[in-house]
Assembly symmetry: C2
Homo-oligomer: 452 residues x 2
Amino acid sequence: MVFLFRRERCDFMLNTGSFVLKGNIFYSKAPDEIICVPEGFIVCVHGKVRGVYEVLPKQYANINIIDYGDKIIIPGLTDIHTHAPQYSFRGLGMDLELIEWLNRNAFPEEAKYSDLDYAGKAYTIFANDLKKSATTRACIFGTIHVEATKLLMDLLEETGLKCMVGKVNMDRNCPEYLCESGSVADTRKWLQEVAHEYENVTPILTPRFFPACSETLLEGLSRIQKEFNLPVQSHLSENLAEVEWVKELFPEALSYGDAYNRFELFGKEAPTVMAHCVYITEGEIELMKRNGVFVAHCPESNTNLSSGIAPVRAYLNHKLNVGLGTDMAAGSSNSIFKAMTGAIQVSKLRWRLADQSLKPLTVEEAFYLGTKGGGAFFGKTGSFEEGYEFDAVVLDDSNILHPQPLTLKERLERIIYLSDDRNIHDKYVAGRRIGKAIETGFDNTLGLTGVD
Amino acid sequence: MVFLFRRERCDFMLNTGSFVLKGNIFYSKAPDEIICVPEGFIVCVHGKVRGVYEVLPKQYANINIIDYGDKIIIPGLTDIHTHAPQYSFRGLGMDLELIEWLNRNAFPEEAKYSDLDYAGKAYTIFANDLKKSATTRACIFGTIHVEATKLLMDLLEETGLKCMVGKVNMDRNCPEYLCESGSVADTRKWLQEVAHEYENVTPILTPRFFPACSETLLEGLSRIQKEFNLPVQSHLSENLAEVEWVKELFPEALSYGDAYNRFELFGKEAPTVMAHCVYITEGEIELMKRNGVFVAHCPESNTNLSSGIAPVRAYLNHKLNVGLGTDMAAGSSNSIFKAMTGAIQVSKLRWRLADQSLKPLTVEEAFYLGTKGGGAFFGKTGSFEEGYEFDAVVLDDSNILHPQPLTLKERLERIIYLSDDRNIHDKYVAGRRIGKAIETGFDNTLGLTGVD
């Protein structure tokens, strides 16, 4: 009872959305520029960052200061591509390439989500684990099932994380048990039912990928996109066989990306994120840049399915929008920190084995991709610059022992390479403290000072 | 006090080295053959595996049975290449290639081990963390320092892990502060001092790598090898620039491997493990096969230092001895499970980007490499076949939640991809229960039955 009382009190104190966090602060301004403010102050006013300061300005002296001591505070991480129903088989059945993997692993599992009991069990695990991670925002594929997708949205809403969730659309080249006959109507029904239902969760249009969507379906989705003013998520050029397949299916398109573009589902009309982009052409890069399409780089997935390595350095050179995705369950981990190290690692192997004109990514760049880079898909998120949504993760690295003194930059680097959910001390999303896990509730050992 | 009493009692019961473990048992017989015995019994007699049984044979009915219920029991993992003094900077300074990385990161850190206080702090962390992992045996580089290396051996001895530890030899092409003038004499002194000192830890001859050892030194080490009958560990063909450098330093050798061979330090005289082998020739493969040289495949290290990807499939095809190494701190993790997934992952990228004649590794093969493959460097270890040393890890995967039923094979696969030190429930080395961590002591909640 005492616990509940303290938890409510804590929520109440912070729900005004105006407070100050004190700690060792890091955030990205640009891919090659990380700002570090040791023992600094971040001021959050009405859920938005007002500023980061070495010394707290006098005008904020009267708002709550939460002192995290020597801990490290970074912007919340954003996962711009993952599949909630596949989380159940993460770490399983990795010895296949994309198309066979879909047919053998992904599709049979996704079929189970017609059963709401099963969906409830599976999505509770997914949502709890996501809350325990350093992720504060995510773009998430559900399945074709309206009810299960609503349940997923319900569960994510409770976590306090900001998520875009999509009911998947697919009506061709897929097993009969997942092949929709009324995909557009179901999508409209879903959108009507979820409208104004949630504070944290919003719908996103989710054609599975070009080969699984008929032209009629894509035309219908394009109309729905405009009617509901929705963002869009899908897959692009993950695997060589898939790229060839799209050419066969739609030879009139100049490229895979152009195929989506011809159905007005490629960024011009709405914010759009395309997962993978392992094999894209110069023309596609130009089109993506013009349309502001986001690349969701999913290094572990592209490795596990032997897809290849996306040339992220080229995308950064072209100033494309790029963020990171965990792409479970082709990726095995829900950690965007692991996606950061994965991005660095595969860029090194690509440099060594394929193309020495594209330098490997640095740790600064990977941190940018997992924070501000992907965060931009949600608007002004993923940084502590003025006016940004206040998403923050407080990290306790005290269990990663070391004999030598470390600089703050070194501590951040070790967190990126070595941390797991035990290092997530606290989380804030849009100015609201959500804690780290549903099961364990909040950590009430904080030193709250300046409370009036 | 109660805790200590129970701990001692538990040690006493098990120290006879004869007992039975019950659980879901896995072990490799060959790279493509994992044996699974659900709810099976492993009989350990005097520290060695007597057999694995579906039903416990009557003659063992009177020895202690430790029932691990639904947990999974596998052979202890073997790490055949790592650097203890580099553990302190794991996850740091990854944006360099080998030679620059040695000069900027590894050498300055290793110099600190002339200070025994520092060495004690650092090696305590290393040894504790190794004990918490699934590793039961390891081949470990120390530094050039005799006293610090003895301290490392003392600390490892206490863990109960079986380790081969090497005082490093280097007398050229290295910073003055690490360049030995009396390397052979120091090595002899070290070997004399550690002889008969340890039950679990044994010395291994450790020339750093060919470029850092003068011909005089290599000749001296070869004599010491014979005098003390020592195994040998070193590095081979990790990086393209390094391979070229060896050619310049010793043009009369047919290959990098042949350079070691000409100093009788390449497997013919003694068990020898060479880390990396990213770039080796057909001739070298033949020589390694003839001499029984072990390849320590270190996938994360080879990735982080942009070295490349070793063609492990080719080595398996040639029936070379191959095991896995974490190679900290070029690898960031001390987990051989992570080395298993890393081995699979880089083999897929090598297949995709470089050479489609060499199929990616499977999860069965990676499990083999991390158990029986590398274990063979310690003799009959890394399997539960009859006569093998009884090294076992008991794994509790109950915190990796899932909504669907899983087969045992699927549970093992998830452990390989997803587990961390929290999943290590118990450990046995050479028939002795060592528990999992120094700090937390033993888990005394086991259901011990049949105790007389």
